[in-house]
């Protein structure tokens, strides 16, 4: 991302098949290459098993009755407790779709907010010279380093004074104010990897910073934007603490808050339902990642090097 290789400064060419093998031509035994390729697939598949196992186990557990989930690491399913899904869906007073929808609203707001404002802030840090640039950057980094648990109370006090607690605003507004330093930093690094000649050429043509950013850089930042969108999706979807603190009306609860409500440390918990609804709530994440990853990698291949 921060590479500014000489070749990167060449006119851009689009590579439609990013995963095509590089043209490394070497006289080498064809069978040996095939064997190596086969072995690589075997090794990768073994890793896939390790990666997939917990998810499969979660799915299998979501189909087991309560009391048969623990102490059972196998993936063999001899019961099919679909009731975990039907019961779990309605167990918390509101249908689970309410929580999915609430999470979706928060996530959508967070993604739009982060994409717009973090990229703008990143442009300023990466390409502009201005007063207080260093302290500003330092504060942004400090924000990543300070544990959330000590700022949540002052932040809550702030939001309580505006009267906006118990709504999605405390979860979404910060994203529209580029408070997620991680993504600002990420995009700073991405922008620095883009050839500076591009925007300098645009500037010579008379483009202002606005046009340079929107028309030249933004289209080239697809991978950074995709990364931001995907990571924002996943992290917001799974974020428990701030959503717990700010939302009090059960009809506004999001997925992670709702999932916890299945479990009571002191009495009997509905783990089956919890797992069933966990499976349901992982699906949007999986879809988001599967769809998003194309942009993540293709984008760079078409913008970065040749």
């Amino acid at each position: 991302m921060t590479t500014e290789t000489t070749t990167a400064h060449r006119p851009l060419e689009t590579e439609t098949v990013p995963s095509a093998s590089p043209q490394v031509r070497q006289p080498r035994s064809e069978t040996r290459r095939r064997l190596l390729g086969f072995l690589r697939h075997v090794a990768l598949l073994a890793l896939v098993v390790v990666s997939l196992y917990p998810v499969l186990w979660m799915i299998v557990s979501s189909l087991r009755p309560d009391g048969f989930i623990f102490g059972n690491a196998s993936l063999v399913l001899n019961t099919f407790e679909i009731e975990n899904y039907t019961g779990g869906w309605n167990a918390l007073g509101a249908p689970f779709s309410t929580y999915l929808l609430n999470s979706a609203v928060v996530v959508a707001g967070a993604i739009v907010g982060n994409l717009v404002t973090c990229s703008m802030a990143a442009y300023a840090f990466a390409r502009l010279r201005f007063r207080f640039q260093r302290p500003a950057f330092a504060i942004m980094l400090l924000m990543i380093m300070l544990p959330v648990h000590v700022v949540i109370v002052p932040q809550y006090v702030l939001w309580a004074q505006t009267g906006l607690v118990n709504s999605f605003w405390p979860l979404v507004i910060p994203k529209f104010l580029a408070t997620d330093g991680f993504f600002v930093f990420l995009m700073v690094q991405f922008i620095r990897g883009l050839p500076r000649e591009l925007d300098e050429a645009a500037r010579i043509d008379g483009a202002g910073h606005g046009r340079t950013f929107f028309q030249i850089l933004l289209p080239l930042m697809t991978p950074a934007l995709a990364t931001t969108a995907i990571f924002t999706f996943i992290w917001t979807w799974n974020d428990f603490f701030s959503q717990l603190i700010y939302l009090t009306d059960p009809n506004l609860y999001t997925v992670p808050v709702a999932l916890r409500s299945f479990i009571d440390a002191q009495s009997q918990s509905s783990y089956g339902s919890m797992f069933a609804m966990s499976v349901v709530s992982v699906i949007p994440l999986l879809v988001a990642f599967t769809l998003g990853q194309k942009y993540l990698v293709r984008g760079i291949a078409t913008t970065g090097g040749k």
Partner: protein
Amino acid sequence: MSLAELQKLSTRSGGARVKQETPDNKAALFFLGPWLVGAVALTIGPMAASLYLAFTDYNLLQDPRWIGLANFERMLEDDRLHKSIEVTFTYVAFGVPAQLAVALLLAIALDRGMRGLPFYRSAFYLPSLLGASVAIAVLWRLIFGSEGLFNSILGTLGIDSSTSWIANPDTALWTIVMLHVWTFGSPMVIFLAGLRQIPREYYEAASTDGASPLRQFRSITLPLLTPIIFFNLVLAIINSFQAFTQAFVVSGGTGGPSDSTLFYTLYLYQEGFGAFRMGYASALAWLLVVIVGAFTVINFWASRFWVHYDD
């Protein structure tokens, strides 16, 4: 702590070239506008408040009371704090390099054109999607418990073990390090993106010169990837120092067995919310900022010697 230097380093590539131009204060105000509003209205206030609270006795329910440096003095004699620093450093020292190494290896393995690439990518990312959820906590017990899968596997290899890996103070932390390594998805994705940025013609030229794949890796892939490695390293260190949810996988958030998984942030949380000592927790938070800040500054400084910027 010289974060200014850090900033200088991070923008050094741009500095020289634009120096002659007039500063872009106006444009910066526009682009940084939202961030500025957020910083002033939402961030600096709470940050400053937490800094203030670090010098107070604050139990959340009553007004904070100024006690000067007492919180910091207490740190010197706080055995649990020292333990938590030890735990966290161990976690960072082993978890971060191991996770980045796995992520990098897999990114390289997945980089060259091969069938099923999107499938592998999604599959490998799955553990990161689940993170340290309740399901993982339950599962980790099933794997590393005394009657877990791991012991069964050892058994088939002829090693008889009935240890509970997650409940033994000597091994519990290592199972969390493994969990950390296992969620290599995010850095892997970023590495993959970085690998795609390396111009293919470099490899072509190297092949023509007869360089072996290993040599190509050492002289092309690795140097050109260093900015990405650096980026992942900086963020992984910052994030790992704040490891929190991971502790709930093994101990349900107590930090046990015998405080062997008492992460710094977990201890801070226990002090702040469990024991109502938010003043002390704030002091702990700022100590962490100093530690992580120092690591970040060192990182940026050291990057001059190993990170290859081609400008």
